[in-house]
Symmetry: C2
Subunit: 666 residues, 2 copies
């Protein structure tokens, strides 16, 4: 699935509400267009917030919650872990304003309530918010920044409050500086003021954990701790604070289901050179399987003994660590960690990096993880062969809608071994809906698939052995010459990246233009990046690598990393095309081998036929044609064998039909 990144790093502001009510929001995450959303938002009615705002303004002055009254209160999008997807209980900005898009910051003062969001959401925000709110259209020339606006509306010497657990430290720093220079103060308000008025706030999820044994993870959590401590020793740090949810999950070889689509659970960890502290709530640690997995009841060397502590005690424990540091003892944190946790460590003792050693280690998959990802992708391909075979028969009947197709895809996936859940909301889109990059069908927008329109399906699942993410673009009738032409350019770009050979040490962003070259030659382009990192039974979007013209701070690609390759082309109001495989970075063999520097290329893990009907073979070079044929041969062999094994003969026949070799000049 396409990942929208900001100019120079993984977007810190793509938090996503995952409760049912907010599905509409995700659908509109399209990077480009707004016009098409009109259909979707037509039936929205604004949330009436008069009473809520009144209550919020009261608690902003209530000494029970604030030391001194705050004249403004900031409600950002995120959770305390800077997650991309957030749990319902963290959708505070949506609660107070009604606006539930994935990006936006609300600020409420005594007189005003204002919402900053970007071009993707102008229309939606305008429809979802009542007249108490002013929409601040980010990216437009005359729109003030939040800081400048605050300075312009606040009385002299005001206090601006924010939850220090939600605001990342770097953002605090920037904002605080501007406010201070104008005579105001940014102050941390310990208790979240939204939570004090959100009477029916959903509970923070606290679902059972899944333990992963060595056959899935390849490395025990003990060995991961050893490796982490060796990285810490290299950098001369004594403590490492794990704040990202997928990093905690990866480190302990545990998975959860606290956030939809992301197999993570709410927790922090603090790793010392001789101690391990895991901050986690609920009775999850009473599960015998978990106790056994973490060896909680075993006699262990003290440095591997896990101390389990309440989730909420992270701050006080970290403050105790901070207070007990000797000179030169550093504490390692992500520079995206919350202001609260960052401040717990005195400035002189902080060691901040954009990517943590766990983030980097997690990205390089070991043999067990790679094999798991392979298995997951074969099962996923089986499900999609079944789906496309079914669609081919059903679409002409005019009864298959986008939602029906998405549900059917989920049904086929759920039949596969170790299926856990989807890895993101299925993008099932036909005709003009395909041009909305992050579309997700809802009843208001649901179109019926037909033999006259292109169908784009971007979907994926979480299996216990791996995470998938695949996009195929199909036509169930006869595509036009123009549709085939565009599809073929996208395919050429897909192949250019997939077959690229590049020296060790190359960053993914240097490959982005390869995906565009064929489109550019004809004056076409797409306004999203080409690829993102993919977790191993973890988040479908992960750093620190990717393939995008928008990033520069990505880490170099390494053998074992897994990314998506997903160029596209979108014709507003008519159709969308995207071809996405998940690919594994592998060593390449070259004639001269970069003077032993070594080189890399990609191996597709996704093995789903690319519809040959959509290809204008005459636009392919011989090399590209061979690539398609070899890819399809591999689909036949690998997925064919599994379809056979599962006794799915009709889908197997579909696969064989769809993978007939192309011949140039035909």
């Amino acid at each position: 699935m396409v990942f929208c990144v900001s100019r120079d790093k993984w977007h810190p502001d793509v938090g996503n509400c995952t409760d049912r009510a907010s599905h509409l929001a995700k659908k509109t995450m399209a990077c480009q267009q707004g016009a098409l959303l009109k259909v979707a938002v037509r039936k929205m009615s604004p949330k009436i917030t008069t009473e809520l705002l009144k209550q919020l303004r009261q608690v902003m002055k209530n000494p029970r919650y604030v030391q001194e009254p705050v004249q403004a209160y900031i409600v950002p999008s995120g959770d305390a872990h800077q997650s991309e997807y957030i749990a319902p209980c963290d959708c505070r900005r949506a609660f107070i304003s009604g606006f539930d898009g994935s990006a936006g910051t609300a600020i409420v003062t005594e007189q005003h309530a204002a919402m900053w969001t970007d071009g993707r959401y102008f229309l939606q925000a305008a429809h979802q918010m009542d007249s108490n709110w002013t929409l601040m259209k980010m990216g437009l020339k005359d729109t003030p920044t939040q800081e400048d606006w605050l300075v312009s509306v606040l009385p002299e010497g005001s206090k601006v409050g924010v939850d220090p657990f939600i605001i990342p430290a770097d953002q605090w720093k920037r904002m605080s500086k501007v406010l201070r220079s104008a005579g105001h103060d940014l102050v941390p308000v310990k208790e979240n003021l939204i939570d004090t008025i959100w009477t029916d706030c959903p509970q923070r999820p606290c679902k059972p954990l899944i333990t992963l044994d060595l056959s899935y993870t390849g490395v025990s959590w003990r060995d991961k701790i050893v490796a982490l401590r060796s990285k810490m020793a290299e950098r001369k740090v004594m403590w490492f604070v794990v704040t990202a949810l997928d990093e905690v999950a990866w480190l302990f070889n545990l998975r959860g289901s606290d956030v939809e689509y992301n197999p993570v659970f709410f927790a922090y960890a603090v790793i010392g050179m001789n101690t391990i502290r895991l901050f986690i709530d609920g009775d999850r640690m009473t599960d015998p399987a978990v106790r056994e997995h973490l060896q909680l009841d075993s006699t262990l060397e003290p440095e591997f003994k896990i101390q389990v502590m309440p989730y909420g005690s992270i701050l006080s424990e970290l403050q105790a660590v901070g207070a007990g540091l000797s000179p030169k003892e550093k504490v390692w944190l992500s520079d995206k960690a919350s202001y609260a946790l960052t401040e717990a460590i005195p400035k002189a003792y902080r060691y901040l990096t954009p990517y943590t050693p766990i983030c980097i280690a997690k990205a390089v998959k070991n043999a067990a993880e790679t094999e798991g990802m392979r298995r997951a992708h074969i099962k996923d391909a089986v499900a999609l062969c079944e789906l496309f075979n079914w669609l081919e028969k059903e679409v002409p009947k005019g009864t298959v809608t986008e939602i029906v197709a998405a549900d059917k895809a989920e049904e086929f996936r759920s039949q596969q071994k170790d299926f856990v859940e989807l890895s993101f909301a299925t993008i099932s889109s036909t005709g003009p809906n395909g041009a909305i990059i992050h579309y997700k069908p809802v009843p208001e927008t649901n179109r019926t698939l037909s033999v006259n329109e292109i169908y784009l399906l971007d979907s994926g699942a979480q299996y216990k052995d791996g995470t998938t993410d695949v996009t195929r673009t199909m036509h169930f009738g006869t595509p036009s010459a123009y549709e085939k032409e565009c599809f073929t350019y996208v395919l050429k770009g897909h192949i250019a990246v997939s077959a690229a050979i590049f020296p060790n040490g190359t960053k993914g962003h240097l490959l982005d233009s390869f995906a565009r070259s064929a489109l550019w030659d004809c004056g076409l382009d797409y306004l999203h990046g080409t690829g993102h990192g993919v977790g191993s039974f973890l988040n479908v979007h992960e750093g620190p690598c990717g393939i995008s013209y928008k990033t520069f701070a990505d880490e170099p690609l390494e053998a074992g990393m897994i990314v998506s390759d997903e160029p596209g082309y979108y014709e507003d109001g008519s159709f969308g095309i995207r071809i996405e495989n998940v690919v594994l970075v592998i060593p390449a063999e070259t004639k001269y081998n970069f003077k032993n520097r070594g080189s890399l290329t990609f191996e597709p893990l996704t093995l789903v036929p690319i519809q040959t009907k959509m290809i204008d073979v005459n636009l392919l070079t011989e090399k590209e044609c061979n690539w398609v044929n070899e890819y399809h041969q591999k689909c036949r062999e690998v997925v064919g064998a599994e379809l056979e094994r599962q006794g799915r003969h009709e889908a197997l026949r579909w696969l064989l039909r769809e993978t007939e070799p192309l011949a140039r000049g035909q």
Copy 2:
């Protein structure tokens, strides 16, 4: 000529001594290798600096020069304008240490003298400096930063001095912060302490100016001022401070020769909404042509009246401007301006940008400049046809050395109309010397050209109508299959960039990988960027655009910009290959035109044959083969006509021979 850039911006630290004695230094600007320099540095003997250091340590305590004694004094590389090339009088670090490489910072304390430089210069610095100096090898793991080293050696509460005119403001900020947190102080020392002990310091050059009329510049200085003021009004700034030498020269349509190879002159300018102040020394303003050009004696509207002031009065004048500002009156400066000038403006009034509006306007050449560049490149091609024809006859005799060839190239160029000087030191290199990217022949390294080795010539000139920069790689005997193979990959990369089509708004760094793809496929690469901006009868290296994997902060390419396209391949100890054209960004015509966003491509301005003998035609695609043939056809037509006109019949015959069409499958 290849331009080494740092990670994310035009390298601030490539100051180059241009006096004769420092030519050796420039030769060694190779980005990669050091081993080959051994030949060059073998005969160097270190400069004895005992007495000089003693004198410097005395003035560091002399109340005549310092308010309080300084315990350390920093001597950076640059001049007060952050120039890439610097004048002899600005080579202070070379004077105090003996080390005259293009990059390096000296720090002298009571007890120590240390020199920080990078891998290109380890060998050279070690040879040129005596035992008073410690070499600090930047990039090695255990080498301390300048700040950390200072903290480790200085007594408590020390003062560290630096010339505030030489140190850029951002560097001051970084260094000052670290020192302050360790209890020391970075202090500006107004009088440069090196100058106080440099008794035979060369005078600051003050050479006559050249005025350029509209036929060269296309826009009068008055209209440039009007355009600048409109940019200032857009950003709501009242003053703009011009600090870069090429920006002053461009703004006033004047040229100088104060710095070798760069037609610039020492000056600053301060542009207000109603005033123009030009800070310049000498009797240059008494030249009637200059007075006429600047309309100094005419009755003008007051806002176009130029006030001429002494070069040295910039600081006090700027301080006066700073003191007289009303609230909201901003002053625009480059963020690379010196600490001294930046500090003259109170912080709240500063408006700093990485690229100034002049830098950006200067990069987009108008019709007159483009036509001038075309003329200059045709003349330059005539000179090179003469040279290569001459080399073809003379090389087999075994009498042509690298220096002879370079001198001959200059001789032929100087015969052309409006020739002013070379645009950089000619890189004339044969065999293994070709693998040293910034090689310049000196007697100690001078090789004789032969029919057995590849010859690489990277050279260019300043003509009154334009600046040239071209690299050709030739073989005067029979190249090996491997040499041809490598040459052909480099050519494929050159063509991939030159023929690339890309949407408006694309930054040059996104094209860099196109130049490498063919090399990468075979496991080869080159460790420099692919292109740099080129001035119009100005500096051969200019911002804000370029084509390099190392930059990210470049400005998008625009029609009218001029850059080089110069991929290469270097085999240490054997040969170097580079193919460089200067190319003009022009609108492209595409089938679908990016939905009216428009698109761009390049047109080669350089029109010098690419040696077909070096091409393995079977490695070219049909499209690439056609590109070469069309390029050579244009060389024939355009340069052929000029050779004919100049009566250079033998060179014309050479041109016709060298531009015979390639046939694939031959």
